[in-house]
Symmetry: C2
Subunit: 656 residues, 2 copies
């Protein structure tokens, strides 16, 4: 109610301003534009963004005028860093019950997956299990997502081994390879937390949604093909990841592996296919491999050519702090790989958040930057406790969600369960056949391939689809890096294309309004003969598009001229350029604008600028262009510019 | 007069629409938006741009409804290709007189310059002279600029030798080097004509004006330093072009060259300094070196350590068609260098056109594409007649202009003069001291360094200046390629930055208008409490900026919410997003928009979209988002959206 007066006032104003609409007020309003304050200089903006990066809370609190004592602010800072302090206080037993179930389900799935993914990352099985212990615990303290399931992930594991092979061959020296992996994990964590702390989240945005969809699908297929090694028990397998070489090595070693196939291994493959085909996240899942383990144990099938996991080193995560290679020749490469895997890990997480959008389902807000900090710290901690890069897992997150988890406690339960099984049951895992692991990994892959989304992307945006397909084919036929590169390149080529070939449209007045619209969009729009209204639909009037804009405008002018001369013997009087979209103009743009003005003036055509923004006004002033063109050619809106032109036209007509 | 009725009508309409402004008409107008025709698909646009590329004239003529017979059109096509057919018919003797004088002046300058530039390009002197013969003649037929002086140019010569050294050392095998240079010239010509024919002019725009200024200045200084070799008569000189190594080699060989200095060479240097210091384009100029030649001839000063040009092979341009290396190992590199030098050559020309803007002084139109075709053909022809890459020369163009040329005939005169001197007077050039050549080159350099423009750029646009400085320092301290690369990179980084961090502003209604403006630009703007009006100032709502925009909007919403709760106990009712600037939205953008809608809706805030363009509408439709958000949330303009919100608000208030 308090603001009713203002509204009634504004209504009055409406009528009022609809009455008085004469030259004086028009020029007065134009003066608003010309005398608009100087925009913040680039230094101001830089300083502002830095301040925002470091003290975001202060800014917010100052705006929301909450006087905080230092203790309160400290506590709120802590709560910001550790969300568990928020929800932990009112955490109920009922919630814990469902979290417990969800956690056990997670564990039942994550134990075999972790072993398989470690295999994918060319590490010993236990490192996968380690990675399912520490990172989830850290995330549980710092993360704010409730459904996400943290741990090793197929895509990142594959990416790691694919990138690391160029640095260190795991087969030649596993220890050195492992050390480098830990180092990469450390760097990944550092990068992630830096992104979060300095609000560089947009670096993750560089992979467009479409690109992620394509990349994920390609990675899934590549990973699936890698599993053929396990399923067929191939000993000599290619190190490359692209389809061609993988299938090549499969077929080359197929006869040999077929020769190897024995009844037990066939049975085992049969079981594997069974698992992967009718695999659903249920608690009894792990028993299926277990049965087959018992069977294997009895028949000692490994003697008959069934590849099995063999010994898994049990016990707690050993410290790996001393293994980090923060000096030495590979530092640069490991840092680079760390950066890539940091971005990809965040992207996967992002993809979960966006694709499934659990957060928006449950309707609570995820702070991207805080999430990145949490992921970063959990990976740093992981790198010190012999884990490799962890992030949110597609399949397990879905399981966690459908198993009805309430809070991130399910991750804690899962971590503890994995820890216990590391302590006690590693001997049980001895006889787990590689084939079963492969099948379990395979069963997790379809979730990564989102064909409907791809179709949807194709429907909505062809260029987006191009990025999607580029990433997909790149990963499939070249390599993971190439795929990523293709995706990023295409995405940005799109932006540049848009800047180089901006939209520029002829406008007409929409009937019974003061609004002007694109004549091709609004067929009912009315063109005023003798006055061209042109709108530049680009944020920048710069070197990349200035010439294009000039030529397009000049062509329209000539065409309009010809038409006018055919119909009436009159000429174009003015060209109104609607600059409301221009965020900025650079020196090339100013040069072109001046050239345009000269050319039009030489044909007796007036150049009128409508609603330029303050940055543009400021630059036109500092380039002395306004003095040369004349300040009278700037108006607040197209409508007012049009009225001014019509008025002067009437004057001219009445004179002659 | 013919269109007076419509205007009087439009005035009526003004009053009319100011009277009736009720819901029905508003929704009706909103329907214009929703039912706006589908925008041209990407295939249509592609086809359109291709058609425009190949048959530009047809399009124009069809638009300007001129029925042309095939003969007329063929002739107009010819005239388009050879502008000489236009002005040649009414070319008068009076014009020829001034063209003759200008041409001779040009020749007097271009003979020593050509020799010097050939030296810079690490070619024998005569090739520079050849390059001053054929290309100008071709350009005279095809080019439409009247003042530009065609021939070898310092920057391009330096660029060529700098780039070619990586492929083939000119000292080791001059013949092979020369062949490669011709090949590069051929490729440059091909690229240029392709740019012109397919209207790819924007490829040249990739170097912003600021970058060109910086690059030119850097190149000028580098070239100047190269001349120290000639001035000091240093025998062993570095192949690198960066300041450090050049000065290094100068100082290292200084004592040796000082030891070499004799009376004649000192005198010669003195003359050289004289030339370069008081050099002005006058006809008597060539006599000065001539005197010194005579003096040298008498004293046989070359025996006393004065470096001279020695023998220049006379005669017409020999054919070099058989020397083009269109196969073999270096093809890729030569093509690449050809592309670079093609772009740089066009850039130099562009720089002349823009910087001096002769065309706009004399007020005739230069068609960039036609110009590129002309340049391309002249370089192709050149590559077949043992010329290297030619383009418009800064210094000589200025001379040509100040010497009062009327048409491009001055180029023809110049070419013929050079041809004659090649035929007859090459023996006269025998004793031309290198020092004199060096000094003449030096005297041409200051024109390339435009400090005022640099200062101007700094004043207008800091980021532009960064590109300028980047190019400058890159050329100076690294190499020519690095300089170019730096310039292009910085320029595009600017565009990307603008796309990643778009402008997004809170708007308020300007008093006594229906116009809404940035509240920070217009302090007098009136905010309507409870309704946020936000404008996205970016052409793209895409993966690169979607998250940024969402977070910014959400922050503003929370801040406004807090303020409202402090002052009045009411909450935000609606958020109006002005989409008039969005040219396009991609899948990431749509996802974010939906997320935004969900979040706002969960807080009981309505999301209203004002004046989205047809592309956006089309995509929102095809993504089924409009159905989910509700078609009622789209309005033609911010003003109408605001009225709708206020109306519903009043309704709500009157209900409670």
């Amino acid at each position: 109610m308090g603001s009713l007066p203002t509204e009634s006032l504004s209504v009055e104003e409406h009528q009022q301003q609809q009455v008085e609409m004469d030259d004086t007020s028009r020029t007065e309003r134009a003066r608003w534009l010309l005398n608009s304050p100087d925009p913040p200089s680039i230094w101001h903006e830089l300083a502002g963004s830095i301040r925002e990066a470091f003290f975001p809370r202060n800014k917010l609190s100052s705006s929301s005028r909450v006087k905080q004592t230092w203790r309160r602010s400290a506590f709120s800072f802590l709560r910001g860093l550790f969300p568990i302090l928020n929800w932990g206080r009112n955490y109920k037993a009922s919630k814990f019950k469902s979290d417990l179930m969800a956690g056990l389900t997670l564990a039942s799935l994550s134990i075999p997956q972790s072993i398989g993914y470690a295999n994918l990352a060319k590490l010993d099985p236990q490192y996968g299990l380690y990675t399912s212990v520490i990172p989830p615990l850290i995330y549980a303290l710092m993360g704010s997502s409730r459904e996400i399931a943290i741990g090793p992930v197929a895509v990142v594991s594959m990416l790691l081994s694919a990138l690391m092979q160029n640095v260190q061959d795991p087969a030649a020296d596993p220890v050195a390879y492992r050390k480098l992996v830990f180092t990469v994990t450390f760097f990944a964590g550092v990068f992630q937390s830096v992104f979060g702390l300095f609000r560089l989240g947009f670096l993750v945005d560089f992979l467009s949604h479409a690109a992620i969809v394509g990349f994920m699908a390609g990675a899934a297929i590549v990973i699936g093909l890698q599993q053929l090694k396990g399923l067929l028990g191939i000993s000599h397998f290619t190190n490359k990841t692209d389809v061609v070489s993988v299938l090549g090595s499969v077929f080359s070693s197929l006869h040999h592996s077929l020769h190897n196939l024995t009844i037990p291994s066939l049975l085992c493959d049969f079981l594997a296919v069974l698992v992967s085909s009718e695999f659903r996240p249920r608690l009894f899942l792990p028993y299926l491999p277990l049965n087959c383990k018992v069977y294997l144990y009895l028949t000692k099938a490994d003697k008959h050519g069934v590849k099995i996991v063999k010994h898994i080193k049990g016990g707690l995560n050993p410290s790996s702090a001393h293994q980090l290679q923060l000096t030495g020749p590979h530092l640069g490469q490991t840092a680079k790989i760390g950066l890539i895997s940091a971005v990809v890990a965040l992207t996967v997480r992002e993809a979960i958040a966006v694709g499934r959008s659990f957060a928006s389902i449950k309707g609570y807000h995820l702070d991207g930057n805080k999430e990145m900090v949490a992921m970063g710290f959990m990976n740093i901690a992981g790198s010190l406790t012999s884990c490799y890069v962890a992030t949110g897992s597609f399949s397990r997150t879905a399981v966690n969600f459908s198993a009805g988890c309430q809070t991130v406690v399910s991750n804690i339960v899962m971590a503890i369960t994995v820890l216990l099984s590391l302590e006690l049951f590693t001997s049980l895992l001895y006889y787990t056949p590689i084939a079963i692991l492969a099948s379990i990994i395979l069963s997790a892959l379809p979730g990564l391939i989102d064909i409907n989304e791809a179709i949807n992307i194709y429907k909505v945006d062809k260029l987006d689809f191009l990025a999607c397909i580029g990433a997909f084919l790149g990963v499939l036929f070249a390599s993971v890096e190439i795929g990523l590169l293709a995706a990023v390149t295409i995405s940005f080529a799109k932006i540049l294309l848009n800047a180089v070939r901006p939209g520029i449209e002829l406008q007409g007045r929409l009937p019974r309004t003061d609004t002007y619209g694109d004549i091709s969009q609004f067929p009912m729009a009315i063109k005023t003969p003798g006055i061209l209204t042109i709108r530049i639909n680009s944020a920048l009037f710069c070197f990349a598009n200035a010439n294009f804009i000039r030529e397009r405008i000049m062509r329209w002018v000539t065409e309009e001229q010809d038409e006018l001369e055919e119909t009436t013997k009159r000429t174009i009087q003015a060209v109104i350029i609607d600059m409301s979209n221009l965020m900025n103009i650079d020196t090339s743009g100013i040069l072109v604008l001046e050239e345009l003005h000269k050319k039009l003036a030489s044909n007796g055509i007036e150049l009128v600028m409508a609603s330029p923004r303050w940055q543009v006004i400021h630059k036109l002033k500092s380039a002395k262009l306004l003095d040369r063109i004349g300040k009278g050619c700037v108006y607040l809106s197209v409508a007012e510019a049009m009225e001014a032109c019509l008025a002067s036209k009437f004057a001219a007509l009445s004179n002659c």
